[in-house]
């Protein structure tokens, strides 16, 4: 009888406990890819070797690092975002965000979560407590902050919302629909996108961060969608429509371009490498000096990358 109780207890504990994943040691540098088609996260070392793979049970569509040891994962169709401690692989908290999460952005341990169904942006602390909510335009998605304001791209709308860090409405700037991909360069906000209607977008918009005024455009066809700064301070942008990577100077001149991967959506700087995720060919590309130095097969549909460098 006692044994049965223990068994029952174990079952209850087992059933109630949150899923746990293989731990990622705190001192490990990695680039992680969220593979949305296959439903997994691959952790990859600087040597382009897979350290760990997490098989996800929920249809997560995005992730971001809250702290070096805390990972937030969320999904458009998933009601709860999960906070997972990397060093233990355990989920330590979940945030009830409701369905419709499109993007999460972290600035100094403040978590901003955009919701494309309620058309809001909410602010959470690292414990998962909601502190503030603000309504936005249609389908808020990409977000970035310069420390004083947070800029929210309304994906299905024709304006960008400017909010304070406490989510108070500041301004609205006109932008094309289907804009995506934000980058801060000095006092400019660089904005990519897919393009409105059937015509694909070919440029990165340079917007004055104080006034919202369009300063200029950088040709980066087709569909520039993500940007990252390289160790040499150059900006690398990826255009998924033509699978092109552009190396752009800080003043906005295209220095180099190359065709890499198939339908890549994300580029990140990792050590001396620029790492690119090919969504259609399920590969990560390690690029140095306009050359692919390594390719690595990951789970199906690598959509997003995060980088942790602790050393």
């Amino acid at each position: 009888m006692k044994k049965l109780y223990i068994l029952l207890l174990l079952c209850i504990i087992g059933g109630c406990s949150e899923a746990s994943f293989p731990a990622i040691p705190s001192d490990t540098d990695f680039v992680a890819s969220l593979n949305t088609l296959g439903g997994s996260i691959d952790f990859i070392s600087k040597e382009a070797e897979i350290l760990e793979t997490w098989e996800l049970e929920e249809a997560y569509t995005g992730f971001t690092l809250v702290t070096d040891d805390l990972l937030l994962v969320y999904g458009y169709g998933v009601e709860k975002a999960a906070l997972i401690e990397l060093s233990t692989g355990k989920q330590i908290a979940s945030i009830t965000v409701g369905e419709g999460t499109t993007y999460a952005y972290v600035y100094e341990e403040k978590i901003y979560i955009a919701n494309g169904q309620s058309n809001t942006v909410s602010l959470y602390n690292t414990k998962g407590k909601k502190l503030q909510t603000s309504s936005t335009g249609n389908y808020p998605m990409a977000m970035i902050s310069d420390g004083s304001n947070i800029f929210v791209v309304n994906f299905k709308d024709e304006f960008l919302s400017v909010l304070t860090m406490d989510l108070e409405q500041v301004d609205e700037w006109m932008i094309p629909t289907s804009s995506h991909g934000l980058f801060l360069q000095d006092n400019e906000l660089w904005l990519g996108g897919h393009g409105a209607g059937s015509s694909p977008n070919r440029t990165i918009k340079r917007i004055n961060i104080k006034t919202g005024e369009l300063i200029g455009e950088i040709e980066a066809p087709l569909m520039p969608i993500n940007m990252a700064r390289a160790p040499n301070r150059h900006i690398f942008s990826v255009s998924h429509g033509s699978s092109m990577v552009y190396e752009i100077s800080e003043t906005g001149e295209v220095l180099n371009s190359m065709k890499v991967g198939a339908n890549p959506f994300w580029i990140s700087s990792f050590g001396d490498n620029m790492v690119l995720a090919g969504y259609d060919d399920h590969q990560l590309y390690f690029i140095q000096s306009n050359e692919i130095i390594k390719e690595i097969q990951v789970g199906k549909g690598p959509f997003q990358l995060i980088v942790r460098e602790v050393k």
Binding site: T36, T61, Y76, T102, G116, Y139, M141, F155, K156, T177, S178, H180, H194, G195, G197, S198, S199, P200, L222, M223, H240, G241, S242, S243, K259, G261, A262, N263, F265, G278, Y279, D280, D281, Q283, G301, F303
Partner: protein, 464 residues
């Protein structure tokens, strides 16, 4: 009530119509399938040929122009798409845009596989058959070759033929209806004839015959009908003959009696002749009585009166019968030689058997000369015995032998009245023998005599 022919015709028409309609639908379906399939094949060919000209890298304007040029010479729509938006490249993003291909198709195309589909396409706002071939460089889907044909166009084209088909089918249906009607009529007209003939027969026209030559079931029926008609006609004639004979046979004694009666009435008969005439009147009355008795017996036997089958000692029966006919025989000094087996036991009705023997013996006595001998004997077989009665009379000619059991049949018609018989004796005997499952056979030689063989069943071992 509808006629059988109409019912059968309607049924036939229904079957034919159902078959034709089914065939038309099936043919149409098959035709469309084949047509669409054929189109698909040619579309695949076009797409394949165009795909071969793709040399990798980004899809050039020249390539797009080339496919557009192709359009001019082809009856299918061909175009090349390189816009990643159309190719569902932005898929992970919830872009408000109806793409040309879905994500599953995109995945298939990236693998280098062609997509062939049928159905409604929102882009073209109609039902289409489309063949999509990928332009893949390494793992990149640089573009697609999209070939399509509106399904409506195809069905429209097919429908031209459908009209032709419908006309043909209607025509066919009419011909079939006409042909089946004619066939049915041909089959059923004899039935009508038969019905008419039967009606005629009912009305008493027994000479009616149907004229049907076919050798099928109806032909057989017609033949049987004709045979039946012949039988009925013969029976009818026999009946008439019988009646006329009976009336004739009765009329003669009646006219005698009437004549003598009138003579007495008018006192034309001399006193001394009275006795002779009374005798004649009694004699004629007796004849009438005998005739009516015989007719009654005959009628009863024809009505299959009940028999009382018992074991009969044959010798006993013969003795009793001989006793009865003795007076008659004695008049002509006829003697009997009896060789009846004493142990023969018949399985028969006593009265009937006696009647048979009396009738035959009376006949034998009638036709035997004075002072002759009649032999009576029997022979046993397994389960029956044959009694023979042999006289030394005038005999019967061969041509008459077959008819002597017919009613009122007389070998010598002139002698009939003098003979004093009714002409029914042998007929009655024959009928009674038949009723007892026996046989009656005659053999005869003219001027030498006649032998009558009466075969009757005997009582088997079970009785002993």
């Amino acid at each position: 009530m509808k006629k059988l022919s109409v019912k059968i015709w309607m049924l036939l028409l229904l079957f034919i119509a159902i078959t034709i309609v089914f065939l038309v639908i099936f043919t149409n379906f098959l035709y469309e399938e084949l047509y669409v399939e054929d189109k698909e094949t040619s579309m695949v060919e076009i797409a394949e040929n165009l795909q071969k000209t793709y040399k990798g890298g980004a899809v050039t304007n020249e390539f797009i122009k080339q496919t557009e040029d192709f359009n001019r010479f082809s009856d299918v729509e061909v175009f090349t798409v390189r816009n990643p938006r159309e190719l569902s490249a932005c898929l992970p993003f919830d872009v408000d845009y109806e793409t040309l291909i879905g994500h599953e198709e995109r995945a298939q195309l990236i693998e280098g596989e062609a997509v062939i589909k049928r159905g409604y396409e929102k882009r073209f706002n109609r039902e289409v058959v489309s063949v999509i071939y990928p332009l893949v460089d390494e793992n990149r889907l640089e573009g697609i070759i999209y070939v399509y044909v509106p399904l409506t166009k195809m069905t429209e084209m097919a429908s031209k033929d459908v009209i032709f088909l419908l006309i043909t089918v209607s025509f066919l249906l009419l011909i079939m209806a006409w042909a089946s009607l004619k066939t049915l009529q041909k089959v059923l007209v004899p039935l009508d004839k038969l019905k008419l003939a039967a009606n005629e027969m009912t009305a008493g026209k027994y000479e009616t015959r149907v004229d049907i030559k076919s050798s099928d079931e109806i032909g057989e029926l017609a033949k049987t009908f004709n045979l039946m008609a012949t039988s009925i006609q013969e029976e009818d004639e026999k009946k008439r003959d019988f009646l006329s004979i009976v009336s004739h046979e009765l009329r003669t004694p009646i006219s005698y009696i009437k004549g003598y009666g009138e003579a007495f009435e008018q006192e034309l008969v001399p006193e001394e002749k009275n006795k002779e005439i009374y005798t004649l009147i009694v004699q004629e009355a007796n004849r009438m009585q005998k005739l009516t008795n015989d007719l009654l017996t005959l009628a009863r036997s024809e009505q299959h009166q009940e028999m009382d089958i018992t074991p009969l000692v044959l010798s006993e029966v013969v003795r009793e019968v001989l006793q009865l006919v003795k007076t008659l025989a004695d008049k002509k000094q006829i003697s009997f030689t009896v060789t009846i087996d004493e142990e023969t036991i018949l399985r028969a009705d006593e009265q009937m058997t006696k009647q048979i023997l009396i009738n035959i013996l009376e006949n034998a006595i009638h036709y035997s000369p004075v002072s002759s001998t009649i032999e009576i004997g029997n022979e046993m077989t397994m389960s029956e015995t044959t009694i023979f009665i042999k006289d030394q009379g005038c005999g019967i000619a061969q041509e008459h032998l077959a008819h002597i059991t017919e009613r009122f049949y007389r070998v010598n018609k002139a002698r009939s009245r003098i003979d004093g018989g009714t002409g029914l004796g042998l007929s009655i005997a024959s009928q009674l023998i038949e009723m007892q499952k026996g046989k009656l056979v005659f053999t005869s030689q003219v001027e030498k005599g006649t032998t009558v063989y009466i075969t009757l069943p005997t009582w088997g071992d079970s009785f002993l």
